[in-house]
């Protein structure tokens, strides 16, 4: 079947809404079929199998390092429990402490579950403005970064064992000489941070060593956003978006729901404007213009695929359209040339009309990859639309070392010319992540001595003279400022596991020549921050994690006169990328970010929300591009850019702009550790300082190679035949129910159709009408597909990782997965997510077939697993229509290093091989809640028991509670008319139900959108 025919079949005339899961399903070529027949997973030698690789790992290092860890090590300094303050520690009762995770310029307030001095789970801190009680996948998985067995464990000099005393001794001698010459020849390369203490120390450093160089580099940052705002206003400002107030949002190449900074507040705000309780409610409208699918694009009501380089042109065209609709747009902001014909003018016109109609209640936001000129114009348009001060406010960037690629370039020049004698690298991994044109790894030899202060002896640390172990933030004292300026403390949950120091201590050492206690340094800073009684205030801060009311004041910037000249000097390209000169886009990976999380197994095995790939990056291409290049999924291609070349497997993505290739950063590390080494390809080798984010001039050449990828949904490109694709088309509308807001208003009961099973059983039903009856409701309308719940579940329930080869075989263990489906045509599809965990069926098909009664029903309506009783027939999994049961085909936790086992939740069994497991609705949390209530001689209150996925969901899409209580939140959600049970027609009576998805398309645009 040709693709054209396939597209015709998916044309909008064919009703009802058609879904498809992958490209393969639509596109069917004989080569592809041949590839399927090849049954690749057996012979694919390229696969790296951590299961077997881990065999070879000698645990000795970790065990020795942990010899002193047998008993708990609680910090000596006083920290205050967050929720419960027991007279003494009760073994088995977890405590919660507040701390903060610094992440570039961002900071996420956390509460950490700690079992007898051992932190096990990270959750957001309700009082912290950037996390608001939620956490994304990266934040939650950073617990494994603490327990990473491949962390640097001792000081090394030239690769040999050394001590901190030796280093202090070494530095104190140098220190004196630098003190005398004002720091001539001294340089620091740091990560970006927003921290009162570190900033104070940085100021001290600059005062002490006025001639020293300080560079700040982040491979993935908001640098362009700051530059754009600075060009527009003349000030260095941090934007704070409030999506909850925006009726219309236009996202330009921005994944504000997941990969851009401050994603938690954005998702929370966006969901607030999105949530609908009944057909009379209104909801916001999201327009997305982007080159490749992001989850933000998946949420879009209207999505336009456009090359990254065209986004600026699009914005200029929009500005003109706004101008025509009487929005104040200065002509000097706009390029002189005519609008390019490649952009849909009807789309822009209607978008402009929508923005004008919602002035001061709309928001234009551009992504961090877009250049400064786009951000400058975005600022100007938001200003003209009256959005500034309403949906977006600006604050000064306080106490921050903002990233500057330019400073790294300058530093490189200084290194090259031999001006730098001593180079401190404070965190980060520039030898791996610096732009390729700088050849930073080679420059490291030009300095007389280089000192890497980092958690791992990584690509950088293995090249420097000294490698000094850096403490994890959970072992450190420190502080941060979040995006709105709110100050919060980083307090340690555990004493450093290894012989490490934290950043505050290190910077103090550099500045003063002596190693102080970070606790004292931080308190010194906070002396000036805390108003009133310091000790009382400090205790409050330790308890809350944040300093109340410390947000910096909102600034109302005006447009700088220089904006026009800036925009004239940086015109938007009018042409688009072509076959001869393709556009390459470097994105942060949803698994490793910029490579820093590469050694975290949870994240490597977490399917990318859009591609569903694990354990690899790929060259993402649109299907037209792939067809014209003659390549298919998993074909190896040479990606060439300005004389540099790497080899990557192809992965075809629907809805991607033609002639773009999207590659994720953060892979192909060589010194990340046992998990992250040699996973995927290092795309930094193509990235230069002039084109950090996207550029043209890339060339793709097919090679003969094949590289097997492990994908969790479109297994083995199997869904290729027409029959299957038609079958899927027919069934999906019942699995994911979706309507437009207008359709919903006309047919409020659209979701509930045909899901009821005629109950004419011969036997009376078991009455679940007494006591607690647990149930869950998932609102598909606000679920963004961000993966946070999957990691929350993995962390809470000790779910093992299985490695690429096992994933390729279809044996991943996630209890909660995110099913992703597409509807519409290949070029302009819509994407939708559906989280599926155990549905806790009242008439559970799994229970009936278990020969040994290992899975049974309890009186509270839960389908419970007795691991001890399980024999492992796998019959239950076969008979589960949702396929949510997971079998331990091997002893997956056997090779988990001793230290990584410390991240295990002691309240949950670690399952042995041969045992079936599945979502339990966090039974341990239910029991804890019931115990607490029983001790207080009362019923469990609604909202008192919060399951892990629900707890972390940034959009509150998941609600759990007692369905026997008509006033509980979950009961109210289930009473909504959008409620439906997945496959409820099988009479499984699932306790989890879904609220149907809605989209709110612009009625004027609805037709053209479908036209694609």
């Amino acid at each position: 079947m040709s693709t054209e025919k396939a597209l015709q079949q998916l044309s909008p005339t064919a009703d009802p809404k058609k879904y498809w899961t992958s490209l393969g399903q639509i596109e069917q070529s004989p080569e592809f079929q041949k590839m399927v027949e090849r049954e690749f997973p057996e012979g694919a030698s390229e696969m790296t199998d951590p299961m077997s690789r881990r065999r070879f790992i000698n645990l000795m290092g970790a065990s020795m390092a942990l010899a002193g860890l047998a008993s708990c090590r609680r910090p000596v300094e006083k920290i205050i429990p967050y929720v419960i303050q027991p007279e003494q520690i009760t073994p088995g009762i977890a405590q919660r402490y507040a701390t903060t995770m610094p992440f570039g310029l961002s900071a996420f307030g956390l509460t950490v579950e700690s079992h007898e001095g051992r932190p096990t789970k990270l959750e957001g801190n309700h009082l912290h403005p950037a996390s608001m009680g939620r956490a994304d996948a990266f934040i939650q998985a950073s617990i494994l970064d603490l327990y990473d067995p491949d962390r640097s464990q001792l000081v090394q000099k030239n690769g040999k064992k050394a001590t901190w005393a030796a280093f202090v001794d070494f530095w104190s001698k140098l220190y004196v000489s630098y003190l005398n010459n004002g720091g001539q020849g001294l340089a620091i390369l740091s990560e970006s941070f927003a921290s009162p203490t570190l900033y104070r120390l940085k100021q001290n450093f600059t005062q002490t060593f006025p001639k020293a160089v300080w560079a700040t580099y982040e491979p993935v940052s908001d640098e362009n956003i700051f530059a754009g705002i600075s060009a527009a206003t003349g000030q260095s400002l941090q934007p704070n978006y409030d999506y909850s107030k925006a009726n219309v949002v236009l996202a330009l190449d921005s994944d504000f729901l997941m990969m851009d900074s401050e994603n938690l507040t954005a998702a929370r705000g966006f969901a607030t404007g999105r949530r609908v309780a009944s057909e009379t409610d209104s909801m916001n409208r999201l327009y997305v213009v982007e080159p490749a699918f992001t989850i933000t694009g998946g949420m879009a009501d209207h999505r336009l695929r456009l090359q990254s380089g065209q986004v600026g042109t699009f914005l200029a065209t929009l500005a003109k359209a706004l101008q025509r609709q009487n929005v104040k747009v200065d002509n000097r902001w706009l390029p002189a040339q005519n609008e390019p014909s490649s952009i849909d003018t009807a789309w822009i016109k209607e978008l402009a009309r929508d923005l004008v109609a919602n002035q001061s209640q709309s928001l234009i936001v551009a992504g961090r990859r877009q250049p400064a000129e786009v951000h400058a114009l975005v600022f100007a348009l938001n200003q003209s639309l009256g959005n500034i001060g309403k949906t977006v406010v600006y604050r000064a960037l306080n106490d921050a070392a903002a990233p500057s690629t330019e400073s790294l370039v300058e530093l490189s020049k200084a290194l090259k010319s031999g001006e730098v004698e001593t180079l401190f690298i404070l965190g980060g991994n520039p030898a791996y992540s610096a732009p390729a044109d700088l050849a930073f790894d080679k420059l490291l030899t030009t300095a007389k001595q280089t000192i890497h202060f980092g958690k791992n002896a990584d690509e950088t640390g293995s090249l420097t003279t000294w490698q000094l172990p850096q403490s994890h933030y959970l072992e450190s004292w420190g502080d941060t400022r979040s995006a709105d300026g709110t100050a919060s403390v980083i307090q340690p949950l555990i004493e450093p596991l290894f012989d490490s120091r934290n950043t505050v201590e290190m910077l103090s050492l550099i500045t003063t020549g002596a190693l102080p206690k970070a606790y004292d340094v931080v308190r010194e800073t906070w002396n000036s921050l805390i108003p009133g009684n310091f000790e009382a205030g400090w205790r409050r801060v330790l308890h809350d994690g944040v300093l109340a009311d410390s947000a910096t004041p909102v600034i109302h910037p005006a447009i700088d006169k220089k904006l026009a000249t800036f925009l004239q000097a940086h015109p938007f390209p009018a042409t688009s990328a072509t076959a001869a000169s393709m556009e390459i886009i470097f994105t942060a990976s949803a698994s490793t970010f910029d490579g820093r999380f590469a050694n975290i197994g949870w994240l490597q095995e977490l399917p990318d929300p859009n591609t569903k790939l694990t354990w690899d990056n790929a060259a993402l291409l649109s299907h037209t591009t792939a067809q014209k290049l003659g390549v298919k999924n998993e074909d190896l291609v040479a990606v060439e850019l300005k004389g540099r070349m790497i080899s990557l497997p192809v992965w075809i993505m629907p809805g991607q702009a033609d002639w773009t290739v999207v590659v994720a950063l953060g892979y192909g590390r060589t010194k990340a550790g046992r998990i992250g080494n040699y996973i995927g390809q290092n795309t930094y080798t193509l990235r230069t300082s002039e084109s950090l984010h996207f550029t043209r001039g890339a060339k793709i050449t097919p090679t003969n190679g094949i590289y097997a990828l492990a994908c969790t949904q479109d297994f083995h490109g199997l869904d290729v035949e027409k029959l299957a694709s038609e079958g899927i088309d027919r069934r999906l509308p019942t699995l994911i129910r979706e309507a437009t807001l207008a359709e919903y208003r006309n047919h409020p009961e659209f979701a509930g159709q045909e899901s009821e099973f005629p109950n004419n059983s011969m036997w009376p039903d078991w009455k679940y009408d007494t006591g607690y009856q647990w149930g869950m409701s998932i609102d598909l309308n606000v679920c963004t597909g961000c993966n946070a719940c999957t990691i929350a579940c993995q962390s809470e329930n000790n779910i093992p990782i299985v490695g690429k080869r096992q994933v390729a075989k279809g044996r991943e263990m996630h209890w909660l997965r995110l099913d992703r489906y597409y509807s519409g045509n290949l070029d302009a599809p819509q994407m939708v997510f559906e989280p599926v965990g155990c549905q806790q069926c009242e008439m559970a098909p799994c229970e009936q077939v278990c020969p040994v009664a290992a899975t049974t029903h309890d009186a509270e309506g839960l389908n419970v697993m007795t691991y001890n009783r399980c024999v492992g027939t796998r019959y239950c999994s076969n008979n589960c229509p949702y396929k949510v049961r997971r079998f331990n085909f091997f002893n997956y936790t056997k090779d988990t290093p001793e230290i990584a086992r410390m991240a295990m939740n002691p309240d949950v069994t670690v399952r042995f091989r041969g045992v079936m497991e599945k979502c339990t609705y966090c039974l341990q949390r239910i029991n804890r809640g019931k115990q607490v209530a029983k001790k207080e001689n009362r019923e469990v209150r609604d909202g008192e028991i919060v399951v892990a996925c629900q707890q972390t969901c940034p959009t509150d899409a998941i609600v759990f509670g007692n369905i026997n209580d008509p006033d509980s939140q979950v009961s109210k959600m289930k009473k909504q008319n959008r409620d439906y049970g997945l496959l409820a027609e099988l009479n499984t009576r699932p306790r989890t139900s879904y609220l149907a998805k809605l989209r709110n398309p612009n009625p004027e645009l609805e037709l053209s959108n479908h036209r694609g």
Binding site: I728, R730, G810, D819, Q848, V852, G872, R874, N879
Partner: protein, 477 residues
Amino acid sequence: MKTIEPNRSPSEIAVSAHGALESPLITGNQTFHSVTEKIAGILERKTPKGWYVGFSLAVSLLMLLVGTVGYLVWEGTGIWGVNNPVGWGWAIVNFIWWVGIGHAGTLISAILFLLRQQWRTSINRFAEAMTLFAVICALLFPGIHVGRMWVIYYFFPIPNQMSMWPNFRSPLLWDFFAVGTYFTVSLLFWYTGLIPDLATMRDRAKSRMKKIVFGLLSLGWRGGNRQWQHYELSYLILAGLSTPLVLSVHSVVSTDFATSIIPGWHTTIFPPYFVAGAIFSGFAMVMTLALIARKIFGLEHFITLNHLEKMNKIMLVTGSMVGYAYIMEFFIAWYSGNEFESFAFINRAFGPYAWAYWTMFICNVLLPQLFWFKKIRTSIPIMFTMTIFINIGMWFERFVITVTSLSRDFLPSSWDYYIPTIFDVFTFIGSFGLFFTLFLLFLRFLPMISMAEVKGVLPQADPHYGHDHASKKGGAA
């Protein structure tokens, strides 16, 4: 071969033994003595070299099985190709296949016995032995396919430290009882039938060892009138007991699938369809083995073309029944109007496993139709080839049912393809090692044809034998 008795024309024997015109059951003018000589003689002669070759081959395969199972216990179920949607792979396919093969033995022995089909006597002994060995092979698989073999005793309804019964609602437990019962009754039935022959062996035994072993095994059989009376009665009762079991075992096995909710499994036609399929495959396997044994041991007079043709007819009937079931499944899937149901069957025939489906369909439905022609029905090379194809086809039937239904069930997001590993192959091939080891031991140490029963269908056994004729010869050998 020497015959002591005078020649009689085969047609006369047939007329006198059955009172009807039919081709004779036993040819070559056998007498009671010649039967004993022929069959017991096989065991008393020096072991042929060929047996050693076959036996060492079988034992090598058995060692492969032992090794693979050892590795399985050591490493885990993951060495096989099973994955998340496809929780059951070759192990379960092999289980059903072997159980199916194990059907013909008891069917031949019991049902045909009750129906007074005397042609069964030549083949029932080794058909029963085959049944037992096939069931042993079958029982191996549910035992090793579970994740934790060391707690398999949780299946047993015995008092235990957990004070727990197994789940009587689970078809797997029914399986356990059904196959267990079938095995026990089949064993008893087989052993009861063996007793007179064991006594013959004891009587003919020359070595002390053989005397003791056969003496113990023959349970003091003297061949007295009373003993024969008791024997006949108990044999009849056991035949009566086994008969419903023949039907129940595979019906129960089919409930593993039929009671589930997976499209392609959830089908009411399964019990009769499985039984027909089991008889079909069982007869095919009996034929395969019979044809080989007949050739090697020169049993052409005992297993005659007449027997073979009758069995071919049964295969034609059961094959057509199976074909009817295949077609009916499609009809019902369409008639139900259920999207999932119809997809499951279309996917079977035209999806990624279409190759398996059409292998099954050709082998099981189309090829046996050739048995309508007498020429084909009576051609030994053709029927041998056919039985091999039927066995392959029936293995694929179980594969198609088990794997295709699981690989694509309700939610497309969980669909996956199942690819067996080398260890799946090893376990399957290894089970042949177990089967043939047992079978070759049986051929070497026990009479492969029931001497007592064959004698019973000889014309001489007829009480009226010779009364209408001048000759009084032909009494006891």
